[in-house]
């Protein structure tokens, strides 16, 4: 096999099934430490550096010091997935022996006391630490959404909100998309109580996917299907397990560090989602 062998630290659970049956792999986009591959159906597979959190459709690699995908991988380079190996000129990696990242599936629950506790916990602990950063960092429209939700006591997003959010804002994954991912992550918590609303939001997002870029659309589709990053899972599990405040803050800070503003927008959407479900958690 030609080139350097990159060690796979872990692979997302949605890559668990051998993806070699999916054809037409090619390079979608290259960054210094991240490489996106795409198949014939437009599904993305992301190669992340080992320091990044796990994602459902990503694998984390140990990259050599100084490695830059922009020089190591040509956009037109052929990509072959065969017998558990991913090959391309200059590099390959072996998926099969890698540890599979599979987050603990959190039981959706309409436990009302829990929801209120989680809301209170997040408010008291996380908001005190990060609320000013969220207020300063989120684009105007997101700030308005939060203000309106607080003022009206009615935080469920509408179809109109979704239309305005998809593709809105700065960053490779626009802020509005990140906000929706965070919102959906919070709604997962409540389960069947808001199932209809969650499905409606998902449907509305699907209709708008053409309004955002392919990379962001990929993460929105994962979120609609209930798949989230490791950082989001860890924050949710910290809430559900009533972790100590310092753990909660640590998990929230970890999410905040992602990207330039992605983490901020995601956490803002998550908080909005918790507000949204609170009225449905009345004792």
């Amino acid at each position: 096999m030609p080139g350097i062998t990159l060690s796979v630290c872990s692979a997302g659970y949605l890559l668990q099934a051998d993806p070699s049956h999916r054809q037409g792999w090619r390079v979608h986009s290259r960054f210094a430490r991240v490489l996106n591959l795409v198949d014939d159906h437009g599904a993305l597979c992301t190669l992340l550096p080992h320091e990044a959190p796990n994602q459902p459709t990503a694998m984390r690699l140990t990259l050599p010091e100084g490695w830059d995908w922009r020089t190591q991988c040509d956009l037109a380079a052929p990509v072959l997935w065969q017998a558990g190996w991913l090959h391309s000129p200059g590099w390959q990696c072996h998926l099969t022996p890698a540890m599979i990242w599979q987050p603990q599936q959190l039981q959706a629950s309409a436990d009302t006391r829990r929801c209120r506790l989680e809301q209170a916990l997040l408010k008291a602990v996380v908001l005190q630490g990060v609320s000013t950063r969220i207020a300063a960092g989120t684009p105007e429209y997101l700030g308005q959404l939060i203000t309106q939700a607080d003022a009206s006591g009615h935080a469920l997003l509408t179809a109109r909100n979704v239309n305005a959010l998809v593709g809105y804002g700065q960053g490779l994954t626009p802020d509005g998309d990140d906000y929706l991912v965070g919102y959906l992550a919070a709604l997962q918590r409540i389960g069947p109580v808001l199932a209809a609303h969650t499905a409606a939001i998902g449907q509305q997002i699907k209709q708008c996917l053409g309004n955002t870029n392919q990379i962001s659309a990929h993460y929105l589709q994962l979120a609609i299907s209930g798949h989230f990053s490791e950082s989001i899972h860890q924050l949710r599990s910290a809430l559900i397990e009533h972790a100590p405040p310092d753990v909660l803050v640590h998990r929230a800070e970890h999410l905040l560090r992602y990207g330039a503003t992605s983490g901020l927008s995601t956490l803002a959407g998550f908080l909005h989602g918790l507000r949204a479900i609170t009225p449905y958690c009345l004792d």
């Binding site: 050599p64 100084g66 809105y168 700065q170 990207g259 330039a260």
Partner: protein, 511 residues
Amino acid sequence: MNIRNRIFPNMYQDSVSLMQISAQIAGLDGIEQASVVMGTPANIIQLQDAGLGQDFKAGPNDLIIAVRGAAAACDTALELAQTRLTAKPASDEGDIRKVAPASLAMGVETMPEASLALISVPGDYAAAEAIKALQLGLNVMMFSDNVPMAQEVEIKQLANRKNRIVMGPDCGTAIINGIPLGFANVVKRGAIGVVAASGTGLQEVTCRIDQLGEGVSQALGTGGHDLHEEVGGISMLYGLQALIEDAATKVIVLVSKPPAPAVADKIMARASAAGKPVVVHFLGAPRDALAPQGITFAHTLGDAAEVAVAKLHNQPAPASIARLADADAAKLTALCAVLPASRKDIRGVFAGGTFCFEAQLICQQAGFVASSNTPVAGNKTLADLWTGHGHTVVDMGDDAYTRGRPHPMIDPTLRNARILSDMADPATAVVLFDLVLGYGAAAAPADALLQALQSAPRGPVLVALVCGTEADPQVRQRQVDALRAAGVLVAGSNAEAAVWASKIARQQANR
């Protein structure tokens, strides 16, 4: 006021880069407003609302740079953004370092000539890594502790089948082919090989050999449990055999606490058939035990080195160094003359577990029963970990003192505090302590203590041993000189230091 924009089709840049570009062009003189966004419908509306243009021929996967300001500034801003977005990253193929191995298998692939894996992971995971290393044909040094005995047995039996050695678990010291591993000293290379189930025991013996002008061929650690009946001395037997077969090794030294009887028999049988002199020191073993043919028993760690060097020169074994020379007795008597009679206690404060053990044995032989967190047979278990009462000899490297803290050899802070505390106790006649030098140990082990001693009221006598060599980073003589300048008595070995401490306590007890 001019408005310009530029579209970059299918341009994906990470968000941090986009933010940096946006900030850079927005900060240019003459630029009133700048925006760097993906060409989504929502963002295009925002650009239009902000007056940054009307007609953007861009889709969601395209990047838009839009600026408003002076004409020249806008052109500059767009050129700058283009340069940043399209610049090829510096090709550093030639500088790319090899893939950092993320597994033992990768390590062996990268370095096929490697013959040893040093494992230092939490005990729960160490056995699995050791097995992987053995399966790859490597010898193993396990720094990890808290490995269950059953796992140690499994690993060592596998090593036996593979004709490899496992040094450990809880093996912190070895010298292989002249290379110090873990906590180890820089010693001359020579003809004396050592196998030890004791880290500081290995250090004391190898340093003493060096001080006597000779050198070490190999120094192998076995871990503290190797000579338990369950483990059967697998690693010591392997190490012994390896030194027997090593042409460069002319004399072999074995060090351990007393093994299980059946294990001792196996070791003695192998040692007596070595065909070269073997010096055996089992701490605490009966002094009058009869040594098999070819074996010489040593009674202290220092003696083991002295006897080994004598054997190398075909000389008779010297008398034990654990005896009080007349000159030393006189000096100690004079010191006791100015000690209040109320001061009677020995307080031993050790970083090295084996030094603590040996000191207890020697003080016990002198008639002093002490309390310790690691008591030898006949001594008592400490009731209070943090305060000495009566004769107290503590191993501050034990888990009780190191949970969540560095070992005192690395960070002597806690140990120094204990010394000062014992000094302040009006019952203390002598404080006995060790200073262990070498790789892994604190860079200036005596400094903090000596600084504290300057202002501390002096009461008891201070006796120290300095385990190290002149070639160690800390330079043994430098530490000895500093301690002596501060009024500390520095003995030549741990045994001698304990003998001195016992003499002082005996002098005080008789008052």
